[in-house]
Symmetry: C2
Subunit: 221 residues, 2 copies
DNA sequence: AACGCGATGGCAGCAAGCTGCCATCGCCCA
DNA sequence: TGGGCGATGGCAGCTTGCTGCCATCGCGTT
């Protein structure tokens, strides 16, 4: 039995001071899962990282960012995500609650954030291969099933009104148009109009494709 | 800056000896993500755990097991999963590669397995709240988007032959039956027969529902 | 050769889905 | 009051999808 160490630091400033060099030393891969963008919206923390990254050769580095829909709530966060996406990062949205912040660099170092006020969070820095590999696999499992940012924005999921959701539920339940319309108190004509609108929204050419898209976008409940 | 410890043990025997009491001490929740069932298929390890769990009140404990499809490969593993499922555990299948083994008990203790021969793996035991909470969130994110075991077995995903997959692709591409049949070199009649078979397999009443199911079961590529 | 069997495909008829056209209704605004 | 407008629903005609029935074909068995 042996004992590895997990370093715990308090606050962004100490993290930058003690682990900043790890960010700059990224060789191949930088992955990150976070429920919000609080850490990076702290101006001084972001600038400190940016300064360190400047000059580094970032061309061969893949950047994967997994965030929850909450990160799209305000316009500042949206534009930040769009910006990193245009700089080559892959951004995906997970409907499930994510950690406050999990960062894995080159599959060697792992940084996790605990809860706490922005700027004063507790972070742990770990290099144990077993720990890092295990968490990395979990990250990938969550990543694989998440929705791409572009698809998420294209689908504009949250803009589905209650009616469309009801139609979606009826379709998903496998009803015929006739019984679905009856259940929703609509005429057959109107119900089908709704279905047609929904399919247009989902950019689907067939009902099968619409079902597929609806599933992809996590509209099933 | 403080330093927590991560305990590393080698092999199932040492894990049982040093951390076995943690399993028996489970109060509310036992979650586990694993790419295979090697650990639990080791007879002595499983028996040791079973012995410790005996007598403990397991009624109020929720058990969540997330495994990859590989865990359904051989019949022994399948029946083991069915058995834990009937004992109240929730079992889900993730199409993405999972860690060799990740266990989180009561959201307080975390045990991760590294690679290595069954029986001789390296395990880490961690109690750092920041680490455990972070990994727990990732687990939940992967869990949320995984497929329930029952649905997975019902769909019998692996038993889809090449033809069915081709049909699935055509449907997903949004082609009409006519053009899909032409592309696949089938008559319209046969193509529709295939679609009907597929829908029966997916237990779908409508094409929309079939699309939904296909998406759920991760058949889209 | 004769047979059985499963897969295929044509045909026909029906069910379901799609959409243009128009009448109607409720509502807001002038 | 009257006009405009969007949402609704009926109708009709068309397309697409669904399936039972039967003929055919290939293949392996007897």
């Amino acid at each position: 039995m042996t004992a590895d160490q997990v370093i715990t630091v308090h606050g962004d400033a100490e993290l930058i001071a003690r682990a900043g060099h790890l960010f700059a030393g990224t060789q191949r891969e930088f992955v990150c899962a976070a429920r919000d963008l609080d850490t990076w919206s702290q101006p001084d923390a972001r600038q400190a990282i940016s300064r360190r990254m400047r000059g580094a050769d970032t061309s061969g580095i893949t950047v994967d960012k997994l965030v929850s829909p909450a990160a799209l709530a305000d316009e500042a966060a949206r534009s930040h995500l769009r910006e990193v996406a245009t700089r080559g990062a892959r951004v995906r949205i997970s409907s499930a609650p994510l950690p406050h912040e999990t960062i894995i660099i080159d599959r060697r170092v792992m940084i996790l954030a605990g809860r706490g006020a922005p700027g004063m969070r507790e972070f742990t820095v770990t290099t144990s291969p077993v720990l890092v590999d295990g968490v990395y696999s979990l990250f990938r499992a969550a990543w694989e099933t998440a929705t791409d940012l572009a698809a998420y924005l294209r689908g504009d999921v949250p803009h589905l009104d209650a009616g469309s959701r009801a139609v979606l539920r009826a379709l998903g339940a496998g009803y015929t148009d006739e019984s679905a319309a009856r259940q929703l108190g609509l005429s057959l004509r109107t119900y089908r109009r709704r279905v047609a609108e929904l399919m247009a929204t989902l950019e689907a050419d067939s009902r099968f494709q619409a079902g597929l898209r609806a599933g992809e976008l996590g509209l099933t409940g």
